[in-house]
Symmetry: D2
Subunit: 343 residues, 4 copies
């Protein structure tokens, strides 16, 4: 099968850009024409992403060198795409963005959570979570891929949102180090970061705004992020109180209704065994979000659990999934990697 | 200073027993006369605990070989001490137990959380948490040391318990692998356990009962345990909703009132820096429980955080602290190790 | 493309069997008909290998239930296939074995390194290292896949074997935990294994025999294995003394001659950067063996380095590569995964 | 016991300085009067070393603020002390330095391994390895503490140096991340460093010069350093060829002769068990160097093994041990911590 569509990866030297490059190299329909990095322009992309050695001779270009392609994948830091959107729109008809710039339907919400960032007109954009917006995504040419922790939080609670106390939800998220990007700092210095469970952001995290928007929450939920010593992976525990007594069977029904047809959401809830609930480490490199839950027999509490790879379903994988939908390709194209066990 | 008091460690081959042995070897007032292990009897204790090489020639004995000592430290599996308490009481006037057998004031509570375990008369026993029961401990000769996660949960929330919605508290605990003991199984097999954030017990954990008892909770709180890839350390996030608006300054006051005089509870809440809130990894080997919190400016929510070494303040360190109080020694005797950084 | 050939994986519940199952599920030409496990027979294979959830409905069978297929992949413990080889030969014309049973051309060598194991007639078998035996593999129907550390050691030193002192070679190997299989024991218990650099086997390791055979060494080389805290990956440092002065350029020539045409051996030797020499962690899940070296400017010493995934090029990946050669398929078929960065 | 001697720690914000500060705070005879850091001057030392919270109110000073003390512990970067030695000598009669500046008896050797560094007159200095130079240390007031990997290499091979081929020794060292200091860079960025076994320096490492000097080697030995994913710890495998056949009993004799009376070198060589040979992880925070070996029954090769904490016996612990000797205190004073198990 020939690679029908040409693509550019804008901001390809970061971790999301690198993962996207890897996925696109293996994709049956997309051909990477440009992978940009202002600071590494002219260098082989495998100098930055050593896993790509031998797989491509592609070199980084500057954005100014990019010619018109079919699809632009943007992986720039938050606030960057918004300022150059008119320039980027000339480079491709379809834009898939993994930054926060166009995720909010209401610019007031954006302003609240991204104080100081440039305002952007997101009216043409669709929030790139196929589990909620698949049909809109298929018809759109502007996709704002969700934040990695937001995807984990939303997919954990989505089937339950109408049966729990909406104003008492607590998302307790455990997030690996690659979620903080590729810039060294004291907090990411190995002797300081190895082995920590660090209270990174216990309230006020920017992704909270997306979760409120997509789940339709009336208030700001608890949203606390603990940094873990792993490199990839998010595990979300969504603690909530049921509005009425529900049996495990009824909860199963809610999850099945929501996710049975989803290609990348798996319900993981087994009666026994060490892998009975979602875990992130077997998901590295995949586009899966595994979900499960436990009812507390001693109270009206439920804990929903989700796990995903922050660079996979949390960013680059989701970008490819959305691109597949926009272009009418098989939704799983290029996303078949199953993950490793043990890992 | 001579080592005035003789002690026996019953169940010294486990991780708690080993840590207790290490602490007692360095204690100025206690001299270990016996360290028991039915399966390793006759072998050097350093064969099981290699860190003790060269520090002692002590060999494991069987319980039947133990002669009368001043203090018995019991580190047997839950349910074991209760069945042989009359035998053990003959071996020492003072008994410090790190199992669950005597932690509950009400045997009905014990029965609820430890279904199937032998009932025990705990009427002479004091719950060994000095931060709540110091004066009782000083006067007692029977101390039931708290469960490791219970200590983390109680100390995180103790200053706040009267200002939050008591029926909506969520404890989200992150617990390292040594908390599950020294018996290999598939879940502890390195390729399966390394790198996981595993939903180990999302509800119904036995320590919940202790937390209800000590904090005086009206209902069963959320109490969810995630296994981490570390060997030592517990981090607890206690999510709660304030009954009324409180400022950060008022919360400071509550924590200071409770903990300023405590030798092993440190308030860790800094305005900046990577170690701004409690972390477990710098506490390995210590008896500290560090506590902190964050108020969510967007809601009435507070997250209290605690961190400790499950084998330290969570078990063996707490046992020594209690023994110091019972015997009238300096409360910090033998517990001066400050922990490592980096680690 | 239809999946033309039917295969059985004998011993599919172990780590090598699981990885092989994963690779075969994604292979364009092979269709798994049977995956055996005597103890898990009747259960979904995803119960043991959770990464395969949703990817297959295959259940484990017993060996006695296996019907004739085109290819048998054997992943049994050492000594097992040899005792049932006549039975297994009836199940498939082609047998690819990842155990040690048929790796030695001379049964005396086998007896020396595998004392007590059943003798086996290996006369029809080819050592499954394409980098040495590609043409023989293509013509054979019996392939004995190399030991994981042997592949690392051989490929590190192969270009240099004729220019170094053959009797003074030291292989210092660093090996991750999955190399020891899926059976829990005290040494694999997470609190004991996490974070170790443990001298696992400093001499006498069984794979030494294969290395002697394939490199044609006159003596037993140094062959020391250190267990690392990782789950996958082998790094081999081969220390050797050059027979005569050679420049770096001459060494480059030796490596290029040997490996330029190899699809899975990459020369990794960069002048700068943090990934200048082979590393295992970016190779997890791949079939690559990266090789490099450094000349010591202060002596006549050279250190050759190799890295691979012990379950990939070290076992399951190598099995698929050999099967591709035997069947005349594209050598890289089913082995296109590039590995993750960061990871 | 009163703290008789006043000390200053010059360069106390680094990892060695922090560990030294921790050790000195717990030392019965030394009292820290000054702990310097030019960049953190005026801040609590616990802001940088969070393990010291509550243990001291000491703040960092600038060097220019230091008043005369009994002992100066210098922990400056290599090349720094040499340039200000006349200034520092005014601050204390006794100087214990953990940098490389005064380790070489012959300035030509220093020039060879530290090209470009300022020359220094080391004639008054003693190499601070008590296992070789105890009596000289006792009589000296200038101690140059060895490099961390040099201590591991020297102590592993010292008992064997006269029975092996001196020109064919290979030191294969595995070194944790804190050995590279506290400055973040791409190589120390957690996503890049976590989980690696990275060929950091396969030849030409500066510590090689010390090892040649102290072991009296005729040539430059193999000296290769692999970075490990741990934070503390060095494991050294010294591969060597015996000049003549020696039995294990004879090797035991050599090690016992050398180390039986040593307070911090333990021979670890057990017939069975998972901790049969030296491991670093149980040594974190201690001043031990554990040593062992294995004879290869199939050749004339021996592998000696050593393990230590690079910040302990490899730097700060060794500094305190030397200071104890210089001052006539108990050699183990302040160094009693036994290390943790499990850890």
């Amino acid at each position: 099968m020939s690679k029908q569509l040409s693509v550019a990866v804008i901001g390809a030297s970061g971790y999301v850009g690198g993962e996207l490059t890897r996925l696109l190299l293996g994709h049956p329909n997309f051909e990477i024409k440009f992978a940009t990095s202002e600071s590494f322009a002219g260098k082989l992309i495998s100098k930055v992403h050593p896993n790509l050695r031998g797989a491509t001779d592609l070199k980084f270009s500057k954005i100014s060198e990019v010619k018109k392609v079919d699809i632009v994948f943007a992986c720039l830091p938050h606030g960057s795409l918004a300022t150059k959107i008119s320039e980027i729109e000339k480079l491709g008809d379809i834009i898939i963005d993994s930054s926060a710039d166009f995720r909010f339907r209401d610019s007031a919400d954006f302003a609240k959570w991204y104080e100081g960032s440039p305002a952007a007109d997101a009216s043409k954009w669709v929030y790139g979570l196929p589990e909620i917006h698949r049909e809109e995504i298929k018809k759109s040419k502007r996709i704002a891929v969700p934040g990695c922790t937001a995807t984990a939080a939303i997919l954990a609670l989505l089937p339950l949102v109408d049966v729990v106390e909406k104003s008492k939800i607590i998302f307790d998220l455990k997030v690996a180090s690659s979620g903080s990007g590729n810039k060294p700092n004291l907090g990411s210095h190995h002797p300081e970061r190895a082995g920590v469970l660090r209270s990174y952001k216990l309230s006020g995290h920017r992704h909270t705004g997306e979760v409120i928007q997509e789940l339709g929450l009336p208030d700001v939920p608890g949203y606390s992020i603990t940094s873990t010593p792993e490199v990839r992976g998010i595990v979300c525990h969504a603690h909530a109180f049921l509005n009425s007594d529900l049996t495990d069977k009824e909860i199963w029904k809610l999850f099945r209704e929501k996710y049975s047809a989803e290609p990348f959401v798996r319900i993981v809830k087994e009666a026994a065994g060490i892998h009975a609930l979602p875990e992130a480490k077997i998901l590295s490199g995949t586009n899966f979000c595994d979900v499960g839950w436990e009812l507390d027999g001693n109270s009206n509490r439920i804990v929903a659990v989700s796990a995903l790879d922050n660079l996979g379903k949390g960013a680059a994988g989701a970008s490819v999934q959305c691109a597949n939908l926009v272009c009418g390709f098989e939704e799983k194209a290029g996303l078949e990697f199953l993950g490793l066990h043990p890992a």
